[in-house]
Amino acid sequence: MNVERDTERCMVARLKAGNAAAFEAVYDEYRPRLFTFLARLSRRRDVAEDLLDETWLRLVATAPRLADDTCLAAWLFTVARNLFASWCRRRALDDTRISDAPASWPAPAPGESPFEAASRNETERRIERALARLLVRDREVLLLVAVSGLTPAEAAAVLGLPAEALRKRLQRARERLALEMSADTARAVVESGFSRVEGRVRR
C-alpha cells in the first residue's frame, strides 16, 4: 500500500514536471477504466469519448498545480464525473429550449445500447440493462466502487460524500440493482410466456 502511494507520489511529481513518459503510463493505466465509467454513465460512446478527451486535457493543463499527495484515480474520476454532470446540464438546457420539457438527468436510452450488444453473456446483459435503469446517483456509486475498483475512500472523495453517507448510498444502490434484476427476470418470463401463447394462437 505504502509502496503504491510512493509510486503514485513519484508519478505525480513527474507529471508536474511535464514528463511525457509519466503521462503515457497514467494514460494507459486509467484510460479504459475512465472510458468504461463514462460510457456506462452517459450510455453513449461518442459522448464518453468527448468527455474522456476533455478529462485528459484537464489533467495536462492542471498537472503543474497538482498537490504532491494527489490520488490520481480519485482526481481523474472526479473530473470525469464533473464533466458528465456539465454535459447533462447542457443537454437539459438544450432539451428545455427545444421541447420546453423539465430539465432532468438523462433518461436511459431506449433499446439496447452498443455496450449491451457487445456484452459477453446473458448475465452481463441483464446487469447492463439493470444498471441502465438505475438513477444516475445509484449507477455512479456502483460504477465507481464495484466496477472501476476504487476504494470506498476514493469513491467518497469523487462523490464529495462522507464515508458513512457513501456506505448507505452504496447499499441502497445494490438493493435497487437487485430489484431491477429481479424485475428484468420477471419481464423475460412474461415475454417468453406471451410469445409461446402467441405461437399457439397462430397455429
Binding site: G18, A20, F23, E24, Y27, R31, P32, R33, F35, T36, A39, A48, E49, L52, D53, W56, L57, L59, V60, A61, A63, P64, F115, A118, S119, R120, T123, E124, I127, E128, L142, A146, V147, G149, R174, L177, A178, M181
Partner: protein, 77 residues
C-alpha cells in the same frame, strides 16, 4: 442474488475502451499540450532569470555606492 455475488458480477463486467485511433488522437493532443506547457514554463523561468540578473547588479551597485558615500562622509568629518 447476494451482495457478494452481485459485486463479483459487477467486477466481471467487460471493460470497454476507445478505438485505437481515438486513443492515439487523445494521446497526441495531450502530449502536444504537455510539451507546450513545459515550453511555456521554461520560457517563464528564463524571463524570471533575465529580470533577476540586472536587478541583482543594481542592488550590488547601490550597496557599493552607499559604502562609498559613508566612507567619504567619514573622511570629511
Amino acid at each position: 442474488m447476494t451482495v457478494d455475488a452481485m459485486d463479483d458480477e459487477l467486477r466481471a463486467l467487460t471493460v470497454h475502451d476507445v478505438s485505437p485511433a481515438a486513443a492515439e488522437r487523445i494521446r497526441s493532443r495531450c502530449l502536444a499540450a504537455l510539451s507546450a506547457h513545459a515550453e511555456a514554463t521554461a520560457r517563464r523561468r528564463v524571463a524570471r532569470t533575465t529580470w533577476l540578473e540586472p536587478l541583482a547588479a543594481i542592488g550590488v551597485s547601490l550597496l557599493y555606492l552607499v559604502a562609498a558615500v559613508r566612507a567619504s562622509m567619514a573622511l570629511l568629518q
